[in-house]
Structures are given as C-alpha cells and as structure tokens.
C-alpha cells in the first residue's frame, strides 16, 4: 500500500495539474511541490521503518494484473535494501527538481505534469517486481523526457530529444527481447522468482539474453560507447531535467544491471565480469579525458557522469560484496552530488545565460553563495573525504582490487583526472579575475534555491560521515545477490 501511494501520488498530482484551468496555472508548481514533499516524507518514513535485519522484499503489494494463460503478469511492488535508498534518492531529487524550476513560467501545467509523470516512472522502476511492470515503468519515462527536453530545453533541443528517444528505444527493444525470452523459458515474469530460479533452456543461449538486457540497461547507465546521447540530452535539457537525468535516471541502468543481469543470471555475470570491469575502467578514463576538454559547463558535468558511472560498473564487475556495496553507494552519492552540481550550474545559467566556461570567471565575488555551493558540489564530485563520493569510490576500489588490480589502477587514475577537471573548472568559473558584465546579477536569493542547495548539501555530508545509515540497509540485499553468485 505504501509503495502504491508512493509511486502513483505524483501521477495523481500530474492529472490534477492538467485539470487546472488556465487562470489557475500558477497553482501547478504548488501542487507539484506538495506532491513531491509528500512522497519525500513518505519515503523517509519508510526508510526508517524498514526492517534492516530482514532479507527479501518489504512493503509488498501483489495483485493479478494480466492473465492470458500462456503468461501471467502481476501488479507486484516491493522494496529491499537495494531499492529503498534509491527510492529516497528519487523522491529527494524530485523535490529538488521541482524547486529548482520554481521560476518556470512557460506552460507551467504541462511542465510540472511531465516532471511528476517522470517521477512516477522512476519510482515504479525501482520497486516493480514483475518484469513486464518494470518494463512499463521503464518506458513511461520516455515521453515526458522527450517533451521536457524538446519543449523547455535550449540549444539544439529537438536534435537532443530525438536522439535520447531513439537511443532509449534501441536499448529497450533489446531489453524487451531479453525479458520475453527469459520469462517464457521460466513461465513467469516474477522478478523475485526469477532471481531464485536456475535459468536454463532458454530459446537463445543465456549469454545472449544477458547481453540483450545489458544493452538495454547499458544505454541508460550509460556505458562507453553507448553514451553519446547523454551529453547532448544534458546540455540542452532544462536544469530540473538534468538533475533528474543525472541524479536518478542513470541509476535505473545500474539498478537494472544489479537486479536483473547479476541476480537472475549470476553465472553469466561471473563469466563476463572481466568485461564489466574493462568497460567500467574504460568509461572512467575515457569520460575523464573527454571531460577535461569540455568548454560547456553542462557538458562537462555530463561527461564527468559517464566517468563516475564507470565506477559503478567497475564495482559490479568485481562481483564481491564490498565492491557491490560500493557500487550501490556510488549510485546514491553520485545521484545527490551530481544533482547538486547540475542544480548549481542551472542556477548560474539562469542568471548569466551562458554555460560557456570561457565567458565565466570570478563569480565568487558577485555570487558568493552560489559559488560556495558550486565549490562544495565540485569537492563532492572529486571525492573529497567526509563527503559521499569518497566513501563510495574507496569502497569500490577496495572491493575490486583483489580481483582486477589493473582496472582499479585505471580507475584511480580516473579519480586523479576528476580532481584535475573539477579544480580547473572551479578556478576558471568561480575564481580568477572578476568580469564586470556579471556585476549586476543577483546571488542565490529565493527561498526555493536556498532550500535545494542546503538540502542536497546536507545529504552529501550525511552520506560522507555516516555511511552506516545506508550501508546497513544495502548489506543484506547485496549478500542475497552474493549467495546467488557464489552458488
């Protein structure tokens, strides 16, 4: 019941928003804010109410949905230690994305409705336990994302939005084939059951099934070389969408790989693990090098995401409990940190109307608050100790070192690169000589801006100084996966 409310409350809010008469369209943002605060509160309550000692799924809802004889589908939701933190991440970033776009005045009803549907879609992905229901939520995100980028974006928005759609459809076609082959061979779409079954006798070899699913999730993560949609989508998307995209949409890919590929087909995952580590390491390095060359602030953060999500894949490749916990933690930490970073970039863009690094500089004088937030987010991103990213990266590297030493060395070099590009960017944007064209611009000055920055920054610190809060929850879920891999 809790999960049903959590998932569909934003959708209900979207419907309400669309029903608003034109004269009342100013109410749209308040409805969206109310809904996102409500789901945030609900998810936090569920987080603390969650029984950490218990493995398996909690808050389970299960209903018959589609029964056509040859296959049965269920409305089946549940959360375990892997999905619960991701649900909280999603609600937190939904609230953040509503707040950073509080000043949107262009067609606000459609805008907030899209954001809310997007939130429903991601929340559904993180707790759906029927493979077809999962796929439905996965695809639901497509249309609102397309609109958000194509209508409220900037630059080559049509191109970017279409590219996003085509890449996603390409990936999900593969995923769907994988899902169907898997489910038909086992006679069930139940993810919990599939995660306990010995998969054999599929219509095509299990290696292929794994690959198909992996392509579907890999496009979203993204992995090099399927990542080229990401920088385009990010740089042309409005701020709130960048926050959601980097913060939670990419995590759908990592979550999918962990929940589906690794849990359902652990044997194949073990055979392919060296490829995971290799692709992860290449993504880290390639992403890092490309980031160094970026001149657009948003593209820079986008490419750094490619690099950081490579760390997730590296951790998954190690297939050890420490590394998997690190990978999960990295998803959370990166979600919050990059959400904050995109938020800061967006707030700066709202004022300066440029993302060109060369045109910025010395903003610490004109906008001290924004600059502080920016530097803080940057420190999070480069993995400063006591902030969330550090814990995640260290855990992944420690866990992976035993199995793939070489990959860890590449990864650590990637972290050095990230220190390089972040510090260099900060130097160019925040410090340096003051540019008088920005003199008259206001600093961070609205309550909604303060609350986003403060809230996300607090989360980054909490993740950095009190990792046990989340690790204790992730642990049992990862152990369940490890039992599968070990057997």
């Amino acid at each position: 019941m809790e999960l049903t409310v959590l998932v569909f409350l934003p959708a209900v809010a979207a419907a309400l928003i669309l029903l608003l008469p034109q004269k009342q369209e100013g109410l749209a943002r308040w409805i969206a804010l109310a809904a996102s605060v409500a789901i945030l509160a609900l998810s936090i309550w569920m987080f603390f109410d969650f029984d950490k000692g218990q493995t398996g799924f909690q808050y389970v809802v299960r209903k018959e949905w589609v029964d056509v004889g040859s296959f049965n589908l269920q409305y089946f939701l549940g959360a375990d230690g892997l999905s619960m933190p991701l649900l909280v991440l999603t609600t937190a970033l939904t609230a953040a994305s509503v707040l950073v776009s509080f000043s949107v005045t262009m067609r606000p009803r459609a805008y907030y409705a899209c954001l809310m549907v997007l939130s429903t879609s991601v929340l559904g992905v993180f707790c759906a336990l029927d493979f077809m229901l999962f796929f439905l939520f996965w695809e639901l995100e497509l249309f609102p994302m397309f609109l958000l980028i194509a209508v409220w974006g900037s630059g080559r928005k049509e191109y970017s939005a279409t590219k996003f759609v085509l890449y996603t459809i390409f990936g999900s076609a593969f995923m769907l084939v994988g899902i169907l082959v898997l489910a038909f061979s086992q006679g069930t779409f139940d993810i919990e059951q599939l995660g306990q079954a010995q998969i054999a006798g599929t219509a095509i070899p299990v290696g292929w099934v794994f690959l198909f699913l992996f392509i579907g999730f890999g496009v979203k993560l993204p992995i090099v070389p399927l990542h080229t949609w990401l920088p385009d989508a990010h740089s042309d998307a409005p701020t709130a969408v960048s926050v959601m995209l980097a913060g939670v949409l990419l995590k759908m890919g990592g979550y999918g790989i962990l929940r589906m590929c690794v849990t359902i087909l652990p044997g194949v995952a073990d055979d392919y693990s060296v490829w995971f580590a290799a692709i992860g390491a290449v993504s880290i390095l390639y992403g890092g090098f490309i980031t160094l060359r970026q001149t657009d602030l948003k593209r820079l953060v986008a490419y750094s995401s490619v690099s950081h999500m490579g760390i997730v894949l590296l951790g998954i490749g190690a297939l050890g409990s420490t590394a998997l916990m690190g990978a999960t933690y990295q998803m959370l930490a990166h979600g919050v940190i990059t959400g904050l970073l995109f938020g800061m970039v967006g707030l700066m863009y709202d004022r300066t109307h440029t993302r060109e690094i060369a045109r910025l500089g010395g903003l610490a004088r004109q906008m001290p608050l924004l600059a502080t937030g920016m530097v803080f987010a940057g420190f999070g991103s480069l993995g400063l100790p006591a902030l969330g990213g550090f814990i995640a990266e260290v855990t992944v590297f420690l866990g992976t070192f035993e199995r793939y030493e070489w990959a860890v060395l590449m990864g650590i070099f990637g972290v050095v690169l990230s220190a390089g590009y972040i510090l260099w960017t900060m130097q160019r944007v925040v410090f340096g000589p003051v540019r008088h064209e920005w003199d008259s611009l206001p600093d961070q000055n609205h309550w909604w801006e303060h609350s986003v920055v403060a809230g996300l920054a607090a989360l980054v610190i909490v993740l950095g100084v009190y990792p046990a809060l989340v690790m204790d929850m992730i642990g049992p879920a990862i152990n369940t996966i490890m039992l599968r891999v070990g057997s």
């Binding site: 040859s70 194509a150 939005a161």
Partner: protein
C-alpha cells in the same frame, strides 16, 4: 422472426440509414440532426448486441449462413464503435462540404452493416454479398471529395476492388467445386474427410482467396492502391477504410481459414504463406513510410505495416500445446487496439488539416503551441502505433509476438521487433514536428466538441487498455475460442 432478431444489429444500422435518407429528403431544414440519427442507430445496434450477450443464446439464422457467436459479437461492437467515431469525426467536414449530407451518412451506415454481415457470415455467398455491401458504399465515399484527387481515389479503389472481387469469386468457386458446398463448416468437414486428394486445387483456391482479401487487408503485394486512396479520399473516409474495412477483411479471413481451411495439411501451407507475407508487408510498409512527407500517405504506408503485424497472428496457427486459437485471438485484440489508436490519429489529423489546409508533415511544426490537446492526443496515439507502453498498441504487439514465438516463428518476431524500431523513426518524426519548431501562423486551433469527444474517447481507450488490457484480451480470447471446437 428469429432471423430478423439475429440480424438485428445490422438491421438497426440499415434502418438508421433509411431514416437519414427520409429526413434528408422530407425535412431538409433539420439536416444537422442527421449525424445524431446515425449515432442513435449505432447505439440501438450496440444495445441489440448487448441484449444477445445478456440472453447468452448464441445461434445461427437463415439456414446457418449467418452466425451470431462470440466472434461476430466482438466485431459488432467494434464496427459500431468505429462507425460512431467516424461519424463524429465527419461532422465538421460534411457540414463544410455542404452537399449530400444525407447520402454521406447513409453510405457510411450501409457500409457498416456490410462490415457486420462480413464478420458474421458462415457461408461463402453471404460473405461475398456482404463484402460488396460494404465495398460499394466505400468506393462512392472515397470519391466523395470535390477535387480531382478524390475522384481518382474513388475510381482507383473501384477498379482494383473489382479485380479483387473477381479473384475472390474465382477462389470461392473452386472451393465449391471441390467440396460441393458453400457453408464454411461443411467445407471444413469435407476437406478433413477427403484428405489431401484435392490438395492442388485447394492450394489454388487458397491463393486466390488470399489475393482477393489481401487487397482489402492492404497486404503486400496487393497494397498499391492504399497510399493513393488514403491521400485522395476525404480524411474521415480514409480513417474508415484504414480501420473498418481492414478489420472486416481480417475477420473474414480468420473465419474462413480457421473454420474451412483449418485442416492440418492445408494450414501448414497457408501459415507459411502468411508468415512470408507478414514479413514482406511490414518491411515494405515501414520502409516506404519513412520517406513520406504527406501525413495521409505516411498513414497509408503505416497501415500497410500494421497489417503485417496482424498477419503474424494468422501465421501462428500452429501454436503447440492446444492453444490453436492464440494467434486468432491476437489478431482480434490487435484489431481492437489498432482501431482506437488509428482512429485517434486520423481524428487529430482531420482536425489539424482542416485548420491549416495542408497534409504536409512539415506544416505540423509547432502545433503544440496552437493546440496542446490535439498534439498530445496525436502524439499519444503515435506512441501506441510504435508499440511503446503504456498504450494498447504495446500489449497488442506483445500478445501477437507471443503467439508467434509459441508457434516457432521466432524469425518472424525478430523481423517484427526490428520493424517496430524502424517505425519509431517516422512516428517520432511527426511527434518531433508537433512539439518543436515554429509555425508562421500561431493562432490557436479550436477543436469542435465532436472532434474533441472522438479524440478523447480514442486516447482514453488507448490509455485505459494500455494500463489494464485484460478486459479486451478476454473478449478477444472468447471470440477466438469458437474455432477451438474443430
């Protein structure tokens, strides 16, 4: 009297057509009532069908030539719904056109009764007459517009339709020659009893039947007329052709092939033919659709591609494990989902084209700012045509591809999935135009109540059945189950 009761749903529709002609002739100042009379006739027809469902007394009439069963009931509802939507979508256009209002609605209704008879016929002669009853009004309707292109469309449709009818008649004559009967059930029994003695003649007959119906189903290589006719015919009529006429053709093909030609040694042959036709049809349709710049031509090719998807269900007759009718139920479910979806698309196109006076896809640029409702409705239905959830189109594809996989037609399903990817390209091309770009003219487009209602119903159907497809799936399974007794 029993026969009239069984044929009640058709008679109600024909009766409404008669009333419309009378009202048009006798009280011409009340012409604006005509579409409502048509809607009332369709509602009476649907109620009559409901009364049969409530009586739960399925029976045949007129010496077994007309069958009231789950299958025909499914199509009675479908055709009444489709025709009602077409009538709603026609109101603006007919009012603007001005002339022949009574005749227009009367022809639409007559065609509807023909479609209903087609889905219920269990006798070759009844089927042929029903086919003509539905086709002749449609030939006239296709040529209804004032411009040359519409006349060309009407003539082209008529000529090719006549050729198709003659092929069909030839095939039916051969079947009669071999089996000595025109009743489908008896044909099936005779063939099962005599074994493959007359196989070569039966194969020729089957080929002719496929060619004849292939024209109506718009299956490659009998599809040449489709883009020209869709482009030239008035848009509401094109909508009617793309949904109603196609659905009826698939209904009757399903019935003939499953009931009369379902013998194993024959079905192995025709399921292969349908599989190949399916692959060719969807590929040709999709590839040709990509290069179109006129939205009606594009929809023509898209409807060809969709026909290829339906054929997968027919090809899947050899499903293992006693699920003989899985493919047939897939066809029915797909037809219903497609009806909602494609009507939604056409209604939006009608509304937009009327205002901007163009069918060019590039003129749809920035439509989002001029009419968010039309744009969202059109985009949602196009998403459904692509087969992306949460829409009815997704379940239709999933269901029919499932049947394909179970019938060991994995290669065909792979072709189908790849084709869906190709189709995403041109469907999203339209969506992209709608939501991006800018038009020179930025005046808002107001939608009339009838257009709003029909688009709303279509989009709601696509959405509701996209979330909860079960009622429609059950209905399709019940309808297809009538073939299971053989």
């Amino acid at each position: 009297m029993n026969g009239i009761d069984v044929a009640g749903p058709q008679i109600a529709v024909l009766g409404a057509a008669g009333v419309i002609l009378l009202v048009d002739a006798l009280v011409p100042q009340q012409r604006r009532l005509l579409p409502f009379i048509a809607l009332i006739g369709l509602a009476v027809s649907a109620l009559w069908t409901i009364s049969w469902v409530a009586r739960d007394d399925y029976q045949t009439a007129f010496g077994g030539t007309l069958s009231l069963d789950h299958f025909s009931v499914f199509f009675y509802f479908l055709f009444a719904g489709i025709t009602a939507m077409v009538v709603l979508a026609s109101i603006d256009w007919v009012n603007r056109e001005g002339r022949g209002q009574g005749e227009y609605y009367a022809l639409v209704l007559t065609a509807c009764s023909g479609l209903m008879f087609l889905s219920a016929g269990r006798d070759l002669i009844t089927i042929f007459i029903a086919l003509e009853l539905s086709s002749i009004p449609q030939y006239v309707l296709a040529g209804w517009g004032k411009d040359v292109r519409s006349s060309e469309a009407g003539l082209k449709y008529l000529l090719l339709g006549a050729i198709a009818s003659s092929l069909l008649l030839y095939g039916m004559a051969l079947l009669y020659g071999v089996t000595g009967t025109t009743m489908l059930a008896e044909i099936g029994e005779t063939i099962a009893w005599s074994g493959d003695a007359n196989r070569s003649v039966l194969v020729v007959a089957m080929t002719l039947l496929i060619a004849g119906f292939g024209f109506k189903m718009a299956v490659v290589p009998f599809q040449m007329w489709v883009p020209d006719v869709y482009q030239g015919a008035p848009t509401p009529v094109a909508a009617y052709l793309s949904v109603g006429s196609k659905a009826a053709a698939f209904a009757v093909v399903t019935r003939i092939f499953f009931e009369a030609l379902g013998a194993r040694f024959l079905s192995d042959d025709w399921s292969n033919v349908f599989a190949v036709l399916a692959a060719v049809t969807m590929t040709v349709g999709n590839v040709m659709a990509i290069v179109q710049t006129d939205i009606k031509r594009m929809l023509g090719y898209s409807s060809i591609a969709q026909a290829g998807n339906f054929l997968v269900g027919l090809a899947a007759i050899s499903v293992a494990g006693g699920e003989f009718t899985l493919g047939a139920s897939g066809v029915l479910f797909f037809l219903a989902a497609y009806a909602f979806t494609n009507l939604g698309v056409f209604v939006a196109v009608i509304a937009i084209s009327q205002k901007i006076g163009s069918d060019q896809i590039r003129d749809y640029a920035g439509m989002w700012k001029r009419s968010p409702f039309l744009s969202l409705g059109l985009a949602f239905c196009l998403v459904s045509l692509t087969g992306i959830p949460p829409t009815a189109g997704f379940w239709a594809k999933l269901y029919i591809f499932n049947a394909g996989i179970r019938a060991d037609l994995t290669w065909l399903v792979v072709v189908g999935v790849l084709n869906s990817l190709v189709s995403a390209y041109y469907y999203w091309g339209v969506i992209r135009q709608l939501f991006t770009g800018a038009s020179e003219d930025s005046t808002a487009i107001r939608t009339s109540p009838s257009i709003g209602l029909s688009l709303g119903v279509a989009a709601a159907g696509v959405f509701v059945f996209g979330i909860l497809p079960m009622p429609l799936i059950s209905a399709a399974r019940d309808a297809a189950a009538i073939f299971a007794q053989h």
